[in-house]
Amino acid sequence: MEKIYEPELRNLLKKCYQCGRCSGVCQLSKVQKYTPSKIIQLILEGFENKVLESGELWDCLTCNQCLKDCPVKINFADIVRMARYKMRHEKNQSSDEFVAHKGIYTTISEIMSRPYINPDRNMDWIPKNCKISDKGDILYYVGCLPFFNYEFENLNSIAISTLKLIYQIEKKPIVVFKEEICCGHDIYWGQGKLKTFIKLAKKNLEKFKNAGVRTIVTACAECYRTFKIDYANIFDEFDENFEVKHIIDYIYENWKSQKIEFKNPNKSEKEIQFTYHDPCRLSRFLPENDNITNKVREIFREFKYLGYQFNEMAHNKENSLCCGVNSWMNCNEKSKALRYKRMQEAKLAGSKLITSCPKCNIHLTCLQNDFEDLASIEILDFSEFIINHVKVIRTKSKGD
């Protein structure tokens, strides 16, 4: 555990030979001066203190574009994450001025990390025809969606669609925790609160174990990456005990094993053009063998027969542009410029923009309030997009 807390940043950077490609691909560098390679060199030359004190690293989007193109695979976003911990604890810096929405959402996570807090979550959103339970082997991990619903419109529909999808396929009560707590992603990446994150992780692990969960399904790119990679790094036995699936994974597997098929009862004459925004957590943040980016495209190609035409944006898959904000950090004019670029690309590619990260959804939708020319694009979550097109194949009932 100490390694996670107090890393020697220099030791993680020694492979760097200053090719400078990271600074050339850095998405943030398009809107402000930001040069990862220079920061790395400063740390290597012994100016780590100067880098940390400058507070420069609070700006990083942690979009991981630099890792994707680094020839020696230096994980700069991870360095930023660890540096933020040091900036907070060694340099007594506060991240408050960078946190969006006055820090309400990260504060909620922090409160949840306390041992005696057990949230009593609003469960009104659960559709009437879906049965849920406290114990079982399949968990739908809802995440922060119902909290967001107070400020942002219509986010519960992601949770509703996802639960409906899982329930339709499984045909048995799905575990949804009334006392579900945050996965910790935002305070882990955004604010360097590692200890709080580990407290949350431990609490979550206990809840999963108590409920007898085997499979964790989530519709959130951040929760998925956090469970699948970060929890598995902290807890040795996590991989053996739990299988983490993003809803894309889950749908893909069921489709491939022919439990479901895609149908469109209201197929229109005119093909609907749509595109997909890859969240960084599902593209650049996963190991190379995890090909969610390709799985989702395979599903979308099938939608050709349903009257939808899938178009790629100019930047796609591992090269997707950032939605502009990460972990509720730095929502400002610069981030708006990044989002505007993304939405311009989306506009060229179709009338519907699908994404599989609720945060991307929020950030891009928010921009539509400011720019009328972008308002016509319909932004949907993957689950919302497919909910009316999934038909469960009932092979067994024929035999009965």
């Binding site: 030979y17 200053q18 090719c19 400078g20 990271c22 600074s23 050339g24 691909v25 020839p71 100019a314």
Partner: protein
């Protein structure tokens, strides 16, 4: 090449592959598979067959930029000067047979095996170029080419007859960018290819001469000009107005209409982001150990390093020798190097061979393994562990040592579970006697 071909003492087996090598220094038995050219030695290279051949196929020698006929010569200076038929693309119209006045075309040829004996072997299997599909738009954007392709374009006998043009619209390029270290110095190929810095400077200068008004930029990470005259050449390149930017190109995209390449690069010396709309991009891609090198490692049971280059006996003092007596290496097969260095290595290898073979006989050390077959249980551990494949299990006898190849390293003796193997001069009782002697002396 022509000199070599004319030399009576040198026989060239081109278009062939070493299949099997057995024996030991002074007596290597080689089996070579000669692939059929479908043309026999009567061919005088008149080219009448290629003229009538109706099939065009991509030209390997021109880095797939130009075309060749299904029956054609590999390239203008090929040795031997024989045409060959690419049977994958040949439609078997046989019009070439009619056109050939010398009856040199023979479609009935099959691969044949040649067996012969040699005393020593020199491996000079050369290198291949890395084709960076998926990197920097290679294979996808038309105006992105590799340094090897540029070499062919610049060649007077190349696909564009030496005049560089954009591949998308045949226009003269005005903004040319070279990107160094593509595919090398990364986690997969951590080595420096060694030749691309000079290659980029040379080609940059050539392009500047042809297009004095064009902007030529080399995006480099480190310029490595460590040999005689190289640094001065670098200076001359800079004098001729080639712009040098220290930084590997970051974002890279193609304008779908003009087919220009939008480049964004961080210049680490000025701490500025530089944007260039290039109309021709040349990638200096990694040099790889050739396919032949990878095959010969298996055929000769040699060692290769993690990058696939052949391992020499000693990096500093025995750079041409391998672990097997009588097998030598030279050139790029041993590691990245330029032509001058390859030539010195080839000469060094040749003189090593002369040194070994000139006396007509060689002395070998008697420090070799010996097997007491009474104890051998034929478990094959020694056979597996021997780095020289000098010990084999023969069905009736148990382990048998090949005394000429055995180095006496002792690995077999230590891994033998029944202690059936000893090393001459280092038998247990001899070592004990040595220890006793040492102690008495003290």
């Amino acid at each position: 090449m022509l000199d070599v071909n004319r030399n009576e003492n040198i026989e060239i087996l081109s278009f062939s592959e070493v299949k099997e090598v057995s024996g030991y220094v002074g007596n290597y038995n080689i089996i070579v598979k000669m692939k059929p050219r479908y043309i026999n030695e009567d061919c005088n290279g008149c080219g009448a067959c290629a003229e009538v051949c109706p099939v065009y196929t991509s030209n390997y020698f021109d880095e797939y930029l130009g075309a060749r006929k299904a029956i054609d010569i590999a390239f203008g200076q090929a040795v031997p000067f024989l045409y060959d038929v690419n049977r994958d693309s040949c439609v078997e119209c046989f019009s070439c047979i009619e056109a050939c006045e010398l009856d040199a075309i023979d479609f009935s040829q099959v691969p044949k095996e040649v067996k012969f004996k040699v005393g020593t072997i020199i491996i000079a299997t050369g290198w291949d170029i890395y084709e960076p599909f998926g990197e920097y738009g290679y294979g996808e954007f038309e105006n992105v080419i590799t340094q090897a392709q540029l070499e062919r374009i610049l060649a007077p006998n190349g696909p564009l007859e030496g005049h560089v043009r954009r591949l998308s619209d045949n226009k003269k390029p005005k903004e040319i960018v070279f990107i160094q270290c593509v595919g090398s110095r990364d986690s997969e190929r951590p080595y420096c290819s060694g030749v691309c810095c000079m290659l980029a400077l040379k080609n940059g200068k050539l392009l500047k001469e042809e297009f004095p008004d064009a902007n030529i930029t080399i995006c480099y990470i480190d310029i490595r000009t460590n040999e005689k005259g190289f640094e001065e050449y670098y200076q001359r390149a800079k004098d001729s107005d080639i712009k040098m930017i220290r930084g590997k190109v970051g974002e890279f995209s193609e304008d779908p209409e003009s087919k220009d390449i939008k480049i964004r690069v961080y210049s680490s010396l000025t701490d500025e982001i530089i944007k260039i709309d290039a109309d021709l991009v040349v990638l200096s891609t990694a040099a790889l150990p050739s396919e032949g090198t990878q095959r010969i490692v298996k055929v000769l049971n040699l060692d290769a390093d993690r990058n696939g280059f052949l391992t020499e006996s000693h990096f500093g003092l025995m750079p041409q020798e391998t672990k097997t007596k009588g097998i030598f290496i030279a050139g790029f097969a041993q590691g990245p190097k330029d032509i001058a260095y390859s030539v010195s290595q080839a000469r060094a290898a040749a003189s090593k061979v002369a040194e070994l073979t000139a006396p007509g006989e060689i002395d070998i050390e008697l420090i070799t393994a010996e097997v007491d077959n009474e104890f051998c249980i034929s478990c094959r551990r020694c056979e597996k562990e021997c780095p020289k494949m000098a010990i084999k299990i023969v069905d009736e006898e148990g382990a048998v040592v090949d005394e000429i190849n055995c180095d006496g390293c002792g690995i077999c003796a230590t891994c033998c579970p029944t202690q059936a193997i000893d090393i001459r001069y280092y038998r247990d009782y001899q070592l004990y006697a040595e220890i006793d002697g040492l102690l008495e002396g003290g």
